[in-house]
Amino acid sequence: MSAPLLYALVGAGLVSLGAWGLVVRTHPVRKTVAANLMGSGAFLILVSAARATPAERPDPVPHALVLTGIVVTMATTAVALALAKRRAAASEGHSGEGASDG
């Protein structure tokens, strides 16, 4: 049971937790937290594999993929929360123009 394998299994757990949260939770902020957790889980799996490679240094390719993933996940969070706030404002009748539902 090497350390990378332990982290990879925790990553798998986080993916399942995140997927559960995304499906079951209804509040948009909780769903966003779940999406971030699922992302962290996927990244843990990738980086654990990178650490376990026998090369003299960890495999840089998963590291680059995870850096890209972290930035994309932040973009997800920003768009999701802005959308949730705009919907909350619209449901309170702040600015919900576009009257015709067609």
Binding site: A19, P28, A84
Partner: protein, 487 residues
């Protein structure tokens, strides 16, 4: 310049980067000149797509190793016949959507003050081109996210409460799909050490965990393509978005994740786990056809009906898959024909529906009596698109259905033929219902104040899709440069 063939690979990169750059420039220029820059970008994208299709038709499949780094270390862009055809579909629908949005954005129309539509739209177009052309599974993940965010922002730009709700559920469904796909990519990389699409089948062959990874990737794509039962987010999103956005989403975006799913299935065939996977997908496709058509018939609003019809038509694309293994050429051609004609027809229907909803103030069926006379162009477009929905000759859909029926009977899986033909009949029900309500005599005779806008962009789209059979030779020539049979 060297002989033209040498520049062909560069076209692939340009077909993605040029619309992206145009979108960034359009955003930087701001409200006043965003549309002008965007229309230039759109024209360039159409030209580049045509150039790629031309070079594939004349010189066979084209590939570009970005930064001249050879996969699996580098990323490769590849265009065979099928991706070239999908690129052309994106170009045609893209041109129509851009024209319709430009016409609609005369002062006073609802798109005018939302200038951000243009950069978002070009980013969506560039990301779709990126997904059609990429031969790297992680790069496909970034394209999927790009598509997801731009589509969600465009759906939400309508501003109404319904659009915002639909955009939020669309976003979380898209994020779940993309994350599941990403975990799948992680597992496949763990097991195979490669991210290159064409090296995937040998990689997946030996190891069970790579097959689980592939399964997760396909599950993510099924959610993004809205195949039944993962279709829940599509009807509300596509029906409450602005008409141009719905046309792009139903016409092109849904097919981009489908094409990637087909590539993965071809790789899975190499691993021998193809048949079981394809049968489940085909069964889901069959249920999608029946469920989508039933819900389309039951819906009270024109746009919702069209959106549910998309769920049904996506079912067609999946129901053909079990035949892909032994009759790859014919079924590949059927996939191309169906995707092209349905894509254009569905885009035309949404653009026409947008025009009709403008004229009647709402798209509820019971309020549409007599609108057909006020908006003849829109009604005609809807009718022509109906020809494709039903799969009548000379539409591409007819040719696709014919090929599928032929190959399914030949290979003994007759239930696929039954589902395909049955689907056509079901489509007849909801298309005629829509046309009937449009052309009914108006009981109230008070004059409506029609807004001055005609769906000129919808008519050519519907006409081309209804007569796609005439383009059969060109399409089959492009398909000759495609290998969908597992190695």
């Amino acid at each position: 310049m060297a002989e033209p063939g040498a520049f062909a690979p560069q076209l692939l990169g340009l077909a993605i980067v040029v619309p992206l750059a145009a979108g960034a420039v359009s955003f930087a220029l701001g409200r006043a000149r965003a549309m002008a820059a965007a229309l230039l970008g759109a024209a360039a994208a159409v030209a580049l797509a045509a150039a790629v299709a031309w070079s594939v038709a004349t010189g066979g499949a084209v590939a570009l190793d970005i930064g001249s780094w050879v996969p699996p270390l580098g990323i490769r862009l590849a265009a065979d016949g099928l991706s070239a055809l999908f690129l052309v579909l994106a170009a045609i629908v893209g041109a129509a959507v851009s024209v319709d949005a430009a016409l609609a954005s005369r002062p006073g129309a609802d798109v005018a003050d939302r200038w951000l539509f243009w950069p978002l739209w070009l980013f969506l177009w560039s990301a779709v081109n990126g997904l059609f052309l990429t031969a790297d599974v992680f790069n496909a993940y970034v394209c999927l996210e790009l598509i997801g965010f731009s589509a969600v922002a465009l759906v939400a730009s309508k501003g109404s409460k319904a659009a915002l709700d639909a955009a939020l559920s669309y976003l979380f469904a898209s994020v779940l799909g993309a994350m599941t796909y990403l975990v799948g990519v992680g597992l496949v990389y763990l097991a195979s050490g490669t991210l290159a699409l064409d090296a995937l089948d040998s990689a997946v062959h030996g190891s069970a965990s790579a097959r689980i990874g592939l399964g997760l990737m396909l599950a993510g794509l099924v959610l993004k393509t809205a195949l039944f039962p993962a279709h829940f987010w599509l009807p509300t999103a596509h029906s409450s978005a602005p008409p141009q956005v719905s046309a792009a989403l139903s016409g092109v975006v849904v097919k981009s994740s489908y094409l990637l799913a087909v590539r993965l299935l071809v790789a899975a065939t190499g691993a021998g786990s193809g048949p079981g996977l394809r049968l489940t997908l085909a069964a889901l496709g069959a249920v999608a056809i029946v469920w989508g058509s039933a819900m389309a018939l039951a819906s009270q609003r024109l746009k919702l009906m069209i959106a549910y019809s998309t769920v049904a038509q996506v079912g067609y694309l999946f129901v053909m898959l079990p035949l892909l293994e032994e009759r790859a050429a014919t079924v590949g051609l059927a996939i191309a024909l169906h995707a092209l004609s349905h894509g254009m027809a569905k885009a035309a229907m949404f653009l026409a529906a947008g025009d009709i909803a403008d004229a009647a103030g709402t798209d509820r069926f019971d309020a549409l009596a007599g609108v057909g006379r006020e908006r003849p162009v829109a009604a005609l477009s809807l009718g022509l698109a109906g020809v494709t929905m039903l799969g009548l000759p000379p539409s591409g859909s007819f040719a696709a259905k014919w090929l599928v029926v032929q190959s399914s009977l030949a290979s003994g899986q007759w239930w696929i033929a039954a589902v395909v033909v049955g689907g056509g009949l079901l489509a007849a029900l909801y298309v005629f219902r829509a046309l009937a309500s449009l052309l009914a005599k108006p009981d109230r005779s008070e004059a409506r104040t029609p807004k001055p806008r005609t769906a000129w962009a919808a008519l050519p789209l519907a006409a081309v899709s209804a007569t796609l059979l005439l383009a059969g030779p060109a399409i089959s020539r492009l398909m000759a440069a495609t290998s969908l049979a597992g190695r």
